[in-house]
């Protein structure tokens, strides 16, 4: 049963490879990920800028505890529609004018915030 003695090591190596692979290719899901998130009490603030098809800070997952609110300030260099899935919020974006969305986490899950023209994912909100 030599093979079985080596098994735990093989498992560890594989698990490391798998997790290493993910964390190098994507933001760590454990932290709130997105740069620029400022927390004050139960309110988090994040400013997002859209230039053409580039989203700054780069799209990431923002953790939002149940009952907390994310204040999302979005400024785009073109007219667009802003849509927060699952929060059922849709707002018109005017070129250069900051638009604020207040998103309160009610149901656990992962929700995308996106624009429609062009279709861009700005971030996902992980409510838990």
């Amino acid at each position: 049963m030599r093979a079985f003695r080596a098994l735990p090591y093989a498992v560890c190596v594989l698990a490391l490879v798998v997790t290493g692979g993910c964390s190098s290719s994507s933001p760590d899901p454990g932290s709130s990920g997105a740069g620029g998130v400022v927390s004050t009490g139960s309110v988090k603030r994040l400013a997002v800028t859209i230039t053409g098809t580039t989203v700054t800070p780069a799209p990431a997952q923002v953790d939002l505890p149940l009952g907390s609110t994310l204040e999302l300030v979005v400024t785009s260099d073109h007219d667009d529609e802003l849509h927060a899935h699952g929060f059922d919020v849709e707002e018109a974006l005017k070129s250069g004018v900051p638009t604020t969305l207040r998103l309160t986490g009610k149901e656990p899950g992962s929700y995308e915030v996106e624009t429609h023209e062009p279709a861009l994912t700005l971030l996902t909100v992980a409510v838990r």
Partner: protein
């Protein structure tokens, strides 16, 4: 599920800016990433299962079509009864007509129930009900019923066909691939015009196909019948060799499927499509797509096709190594890959449960709110307008557990099915070595599936 069109829950939009048309869609809620602990436990379980399996499993073919626990006579009689089938068919027909009315006369907005019926009830719901009850679509398929009805009206044999059919599951693979593309890549896939084209096209192709090739068309070429039949193999309900109803393991159903034309591409589409769905929810991927100079539809289409191709190529490469290890000629790999393709069905089933559980539970209920008002007139014909989907079954811990368990159980069943098939079709001494490449591929699929669920 990542439908591409703007998605909104209707009727809950107080802050909707004037001038913005309410958008369409299903599934605005996604699952939280799989917790790291669940990922590790599931991955370790899959690896241990595979290693133990190689060393300790049975050495003689073991699954027989005489196995199974006979159902009590009254239950079997009920399952076989004409009236049960007639009721199921009638309900399916009513739902079809109801949906077609909404498709033709309903509003082009998020209040229209058609996207939920097509993408949630038909696609995901059919998968879940088939895994539970068997190939139900064969019984209730409204297009099959329409074809049979037309032939009866014309007073001709139900077996009327102009040409013999000989493409196996290939058309089903194409159909499933197309539907997956529509669901995951096509733009505006929940707009009414798009859905009219989709449903109209499907009816036209089905009626044409069945007119030329007879009802065999539905047995082999219809994508939803293939989806339901293949996933239905996993059902604990089945028929023994003598046609009597039994309770049996999912392995018996899978083992009963013989290699046939087009089975490998069909399974590749089933597995690859679900994997792409999970993968495309990854934020790094969407960032890459939206900042890439290449058109995003093109990029997504190419990636989806790559996922289909990866599954087909990896399973074929594994079977090449298998037949070489067991000292058989290279050409044998083409029949062997078809022989072992059924053992990927449990893995595909596990992926489906893991990816669509919460969508099915939540949006499946939500569909009732929309169906009650098919024309968007504010009617409440079914009394379900105020239905609030029950969220007890989509609590994050429960969802993560279901995801990890379904992937691991799919892997376990896949390994067992491949083992049984390997010792059946390969030379006995070679079978143990011969199944190792398959197991490696299955481990890759399972770890890949888990990673996809884990990466945000």
């Amino acid at each position: 599920m990542a439908l591409t069109a703007p998605q909104l829950a209707p009727g809950l939009i107080p802050g909707l800016a004037p001038g913005l048309v309410p958008a369409h869609g299903v599934g605005s809620r996604g699952d939280l990433p799989l917790p790291f602990t669940a990922l590790v436990i599931a991955a370790v379980a899959a690896l241990v299962i595979s290693f133990v399996a190689i060393g300790t499993l049975w050495r003689e073919p073991r699954l027989r079509d005489t196995d199974g626990v006979l159902l009590p006579r009254p239950v079997a009689a009920l399952l076989d009864s004409r009236s049960l089938r007639a009721v199921a068919r009638a309900l399916a027909a009513v739902l079809t007509v109801w949906t077609l009315v909404a498709l033709v006369l309903g509003p082009d907005s998020a209040r229209n129930p058609v996207p939920h019926v097509v993408y949630v009830w038909l696609w995901v719901g059919l998968a879940f009900s088939s895994m539970l009850l068997g190939p139900v679509w064969r019984v209730i398929n409204p297009v099959r019923a329409l074809h049979a009805g037309l032939l009866r009206l014309a007073r001709v044999s139900p077996d009327l066909a102009a040409l013999p059919y000989r493409w196996g599951l290939w058309p089903a693979a194409l159909g499933l691939g197309t539907f997956t593309w529509v669901e995951l890549v096509a733009e505006n896939n929940t707009s009414l015009g798009f859905l009219q084209l989709l449903v109209g096209g499907f009816f036209a192709v089905s009626l044409l196909g069945s007119a030329v090739f007879g009802r065999t068309w539905f047995d082999h070429a219809d994508p939803f019948e293939a989806w339901s039949r293949l996933l239905g193999l996993l059902s604990p309900l089945g028929r023994r060799h003598d046609g009597r109803w039994v309770l049996r393991t999912p392995l018996h159903g899978v083992n009963g499927l013989r290699g046939q034309r087009g089975l490998v591409p069909t399974v590749a589409v089933m597995l690859g499509g679900t994997a792409y769905d999970g993968f495309s929810a990854n934020l790094s991927w969407s960032t890459f797509v939206q900042t890439s100079p290449v058109s995003s539809s093109l990029l997504k289409t190419a990636t989806l096709l790559t996922f289909f191709g990866l599954v087909a190529v990896t399973i074929w490469l594994a079977s090449v190594v298998s037949v070489r290890l067991s000292g058989e000629p290279f050409a044998r790999s083409f029949t062997f890959v078809s022989d072992i393709a059924p053992s990927l069905i449990p893995i595909a089933g596990g992926y489906v449960v893991a990816h669509y559980w919460s969508l099915w539970v939540y949006q499946g209920q939500y569909a009732w709110r929309l169906l009650t008002d098919p024309l968007g007139t504010g009617a409440d014909l079914l009394g379900t307008a105020g239905l609030v989907p029950n969220d007890a079954l989509i609590q994050p811990t429960l969802v993560a557990t279901i995801q990890a368990v379904s992937i691991v159980v799919g892997h376990l069943l896949g390994v067992l099915a491949a083992h049984e098939r390997a010792i059946t079709v390969l030379d006995r001494r070679a079978a143990v070595v011969g199944q190792v490449p398959l197991m490696v591929v299955m481990i890759l699929y399972t770890l890949g599936g888990l990673t996809i669920l884990f990466a945000p």
